[in-house]
């Protein structure tokens, strides 16, 4: 029987390093979209808390810790980044192979993103533990701030190469500007 080899969305594209900035790929056990049915937010939140120790986040927030997080994804939807889950009372879809998960890290990472997204990334508005849906270039993107100078971006897998290209270009531009070249 043919043996299939799993390929990550960033295979052959990442990691990218430019000066002290790095763009790497994030691996999750599973990515599960959970959309609670009307009025089911509380039981779904309790079920998630039971299963992986992270409750349903509010708008624009992330709960949990590395390896088991729940990130707000949009109106009535969250993404579980961690073990597979199937809480009752919600529409659940396995999207593990649907997203490319990129991490941008290093001094100037906010300046890099500022070239690509209209999102207001100022320190006091987009803080650690926050999540936001916006655009990365022309792509819809879920932004997570996971450190002082660390951002995770989830884009549709089919857009991985474009996202890496756009981010690399912006990283080079910011690095060049900072070195005065």
């Amino acid at each position: 029987m043919a043996k299939l080899i799993a390929k990550s969305p960033g295979a052959g594209l990442l990691p990218v390093r430019v000066g002290s900035l790095s763009l790497t790929e994030e691996a999750h056990d599973a990515i599960t979209c959970v959309a609670p049915f009307q009025g089911q937010e509380k039981p779904v939140s309790a079920a998630l808390k039971d299963a992986i120790g992270a409750a349903l986040p509010g708008v624009g927030r992330v709960t949990g810790k590395a390896g088991a997080r729940v990130a707000w994804l949009g109106l009535g939807q969250v993404l579980v980044l961690g073990p597979p889950v199937a809480p009752p009372g919600a529409a659940v879809t396995d999207q593990s192979d649907g997203w490319a998960c990129l991490t941008l890290e290093g001094p100037g990472s906010r300046a890099v993103l500022a070239r690509l997204t209209p999102l207001d990334l100022r320190e006091n508005l987009f803080k650690r533990g926050h999540a936001a849906r916006s655009l990365l270039g022309h792509m819809t993107c879920l932004f997570l701030r996971t450190g002082v100078e660390r951002y995770e971006m989830l884009v549709f897998r089919s857009m991985a190469a474009t996202a890496v290209h756009e981010l690399t270009h912006a990283m080079q531009s910011v690095a060049a500007q900072r070195s005065g070249a």
Binding site: V59, G60, G74, L75, Q77, P118, L119, D120, A132, R133, S134, L135, T140
Partner: protein, 87 residues
């Protein structure tokens, strides 16, 4: 131009898609008659001043919102979720 999404807060207009006047939320009954349906499908006001429009936050939370806007001053006066307006 920035629009105040009730879910996401104030966001750049690039994240939104314009649909048209919020009259689309006031769908006539199936038996309302030709005149009401012609009005609903084809006829639109062209207001100089305040108007209500449907916008889709596709580059954000995915909500349909009703934005109140002044076509003369370009002032954006507020926004609500279309799902709440339609109820």
């Amino acid at each position: 131009m920035r629009l105040p999404c009730p879910i996401c807060g104030e966001r750049d207009v690039r994240e939104f898609t314009y649909k048209g006047h919020a009259v689309a939320l006031d769908r006539p009954a199936p038996n309302a008659g030709d005149a009401a349906w012609e009005d609903y499908v084809h006829l639109r006001e062209n207001p100089a001043g305040e108007t209500r429009e449907l916008w889709y936050h596709g580059g954000g939370c995915g909500a349909w919102i009703v934005v109140r806007r002044n076509t003369v001053t370009h002032e954006v006066l507020g926004a609500e979720l279309a799902s709440e307006v339609a109820e």
